[in-house]
Amino acid sequence: MRKKLETQALIGGARIGPVLLLGILLAVILTFPTLGSYSLYVFALLAIQGIAVLSLNLLMGYAGQVSLGQAAFIGMGAYGTAQFASWGVPFPFTIVFSVVTTVAAATLVGLPSLRIKGLQLAATTLAFGIMAEQLLFARPWSKTATVGMIADRPEAMASDRAFLVVALLGLGLVLLIDSSVRRSRIGRSFFAVRYREDTAAARGVPVGQVKLLAYAMAGLYAGIAGGLFAYLIERVSATPFSVWKSLWFVVVIVVGGIGSWSGALVAAILFTGMTELLRPIAAYSPLIGAVLLMLAPVLRPQGLGWILERPIRSRRARVIEAEVIEREPVDVHELVTHRRPVRFSVPMRTLLSLRDVELTIGGLEILRGVNLEIRRGELVGLIGPNGAGKTTVFNCVSGFLKPTAGEITYRGRDVLALPPHARPDLGIIRTFQQVGICAPLTVWDNVLLGQYAIHPYGVVSALVRTPRVRRDEKDAAKRATAALEAVGLRDLAGERAGSLPHATQRLVEVAGALAAGPEILLLDEPAAGMDPEETRLLGARLAALRKDLDLTMVVIEHHIPMVADLCEFVYVLAEGRVMAEGSPAEVQRDPAVIATYLGEERLSREEVAVGV
């Protein structure tokens, strides 16, 4: 079968686009005094639907968290607004307060995402949607439940025309927020979590917090949409927020192309327009939506976004070309991170030390007392047969696995208590055996992703794009360029990472790791899949980088000549223990090593390591 690739819109994208679009819309509306009340209603409805689908697009398309109950959040925004209005709260604050409650509810529903991944979460959102519809919106405790809640528009926007302006301003606000998010480290962290949680964590992204932030932001958009919707219809009842409406949003997002804001907007307009304007086929519109939802993932996973964002993408590609590929050469020293003052708590050269590290999983002893000393500035090889525990050592050092016994110190400091995402901040950066890149994103975006921990600006700064954020983003671009230059991939900056050959994908990951500001770089089989010439070149580049950036490196490698060439010290791991250590020459002479490792190496050089 033909393999269909899911492509992802570039994270960046036009900021001017939405503003222009809305400007034109506003101009049209204000200059056509003949627009009837119904047309004005439909336009306002479209604007509000737009905000609503952007809410699901952020949660599902950016952060990869499926929600089958999004209409419930919008309903909370609407009911909240009506409730606050009934308590005498004046207009803008009704929406503001109800947005706050909606954000809280959305965050609450997102809580299980801290514990579990994947599709079970989708089921909880569906259950939440049904609960909200049957209980929160049905309001069995209220006498007025059947007639709904009143939300009269304030004087200033009592006319349909005035209200439409307010609705469009709301959509404009959300579009601006959305664009700021996409162009910041926040948006990049969403995408990283969606595509590769482990890589995200290894680059300093606090995965759990980021997921909750996505839920909260989706709640923000949903609250705004709900508040405006309450004033649009002026009488809030449960029907518009049913679970079927939630599923309709999913249809829109999938048809629009998961993660494509413009595709989602166009799909929403098409569907709403179809229902409102073509009454004869309105009855069939749910069926049409359902069939499209069923077929889109098979026939065109990119959805409408694929067509719509091509122009934006090619423009972005040109921008990347102009700024990254054709700019004057950069200095790799851009990559030296000065934010980390070198403080040794112990007066020795040891940077990383593992003492008697043991790991048992399900009764299986994977590490049985590993002792390693990595000294500052060294390039150390970690070799051993498949299943020896090499990758497990990396997983322990980077925090993905917790040793059952023993200690791991970095610069004399115990790091075992630190979660994976806190370790990059110390300068511990790793790569993965299964290439840790986000395949649908460009090479450029992948390298930018690596820098999450380097520029720690917050969400609010990202949303308003403070001068500091702009400065940090410029710096990030400079560092990304330098990192790509360092691995020789500058020409490929605009390419989709997943479409590159396997060996090149590994280099993309290495570039991302370099951009993350490592002090110690843990490379898991960087030369896998490379031909001898590429391997030689990679070795030369790593050696040069080590010198230029004062890096310490540990390399897991099966390619013995590369290890012999490159490394000054080698640890040989077998059956969860260090069986030999020393210079490459010493190790290669060790009879035990020859017997167990090199013998097997000759047989299984090409074998894919299944290391735990």
Partner: protein, 285 residues
């Protein structure tokens, strides 16, 4: 209170059977099939049409179950097979779309109005103290229990059942040992469809049905499946009983339908946050 506890077990058994069918498909093909309820409902509608035109209830029910199996099989052949390369998210969307498609077709052909299905074992009632047990309830419990235990016996004791188990636990290894994995996948979907059909018909006899009602019921079945950790067939069945009892007790104590949905949501959150591996029977079926 005790009465409601007993009453809950009857519907709970049918929820459990739907949960079992969901788990079977999930374990067998790693597809989180949101169409599972509607596959069963499609068979149910067919059976209902047959009953309306005078076919005996039991025969109509069997024909409905057969159509549900065929629907599951068709879905696997035409849709699920093409989702191998897709992300889990895209696959989830596709099954949701398939389920909604079936439901909206039902709504166009047979309308949105609420229907009932006659009991497949005749209509009678049974008074035990303060408790009235109707034949539809007995049917739900007895048939669901027999079918579910029959499934477990089939999977554990027969050669073909074992090959299904093999294929669902390690595809590569199973393929190497000569199991025709593609056939097994189709079979799992057909079997899952049949079980869903039985569950849908039993539930339609106890409750009522309309297009999309089975998708709402699927949420209860999903909660049941999660109580069993999504991988345990007996766990899913027991989970169904728990959900049925919880529903019956909550309704009787509060009298508010929405409270059941709140309780279901809380159970789901509780299980996922506190015991993501499930509570009942974490072991294999």
């Amino acid at each position: 209170m005790l009465d409601y506890l007993v009453i809950g077990i009857f519907t709970g058994a049918a929820y459990g059977l739907l949960a079992v069918s969901f788990v079977l498909v999930y374990k067998g093909t790693r597809i989180f099939n949101l169409a599972q309820g509607e596959i069963g409902a499609f068979g149910l509608y067919f059976a209902w049409v047959l009953v309306e035109s005078g076919v005996p209830v039991a025969v109509a029910a069997l024909a409905g179950v057969a159509l549900a199996a065929l629907t599951g099989l068709t879905m696997e052949r035409l849709l699920v097979r093409r989702l191998v390369d897709s992300t889990p998210l895209a696959a989830l969307a596709a099954t949701l779309g398939a389920g909604l498609t079936l439901a909206y077709i039902e709504s166009i052909v047979w309308g949105w109005n609420i229907k009932t299905f006659p009991s497949p074992i005749g209509t009678w009632r049974w008074e035990v103290g303060s408790l009235t047990i109707t034949s539809t309830r007995v049917a739900a419990l007895v048939v669901a229990a027999i079918v579910a235990s029959g499934l477990v016996v089939f999977l554990r004791r027969t050669r073909f059942g074992l090959s299904v188990q093999a294929a669902t636990s390690d595809q590569v290894l199973a393929r190497l040992s000569g199991v025709k994995v593609d056939q097994v996948r189709s079979f799992v979907w057909a079997l899952g469809g049949a079980l869903a059909g039985v569950a849908a018909i039993l539930l339609a006899a106890v409750l009522t049905f309309h297009p999309l009602s089975t998708t709402l019921i699927l949420v209860r079945a999903l909660t049941a499946a999660m109580l069993g950790g999504l991988t345990s067939l007996p766990g899913a069945f027991v989970g169904g009983l728990v959900i049925g009892v919880a529903e019956s007790v909550v309704i009787s104590q509060t009298g508010v339908g929405g409270m059941v949905d709140l309780v279901i949501f809380m159970i789901m959150l509780g299980v996922l946050i506190l015991r993501p591996g499930g509570i009942f029977g974490a072991q294999e079926a």
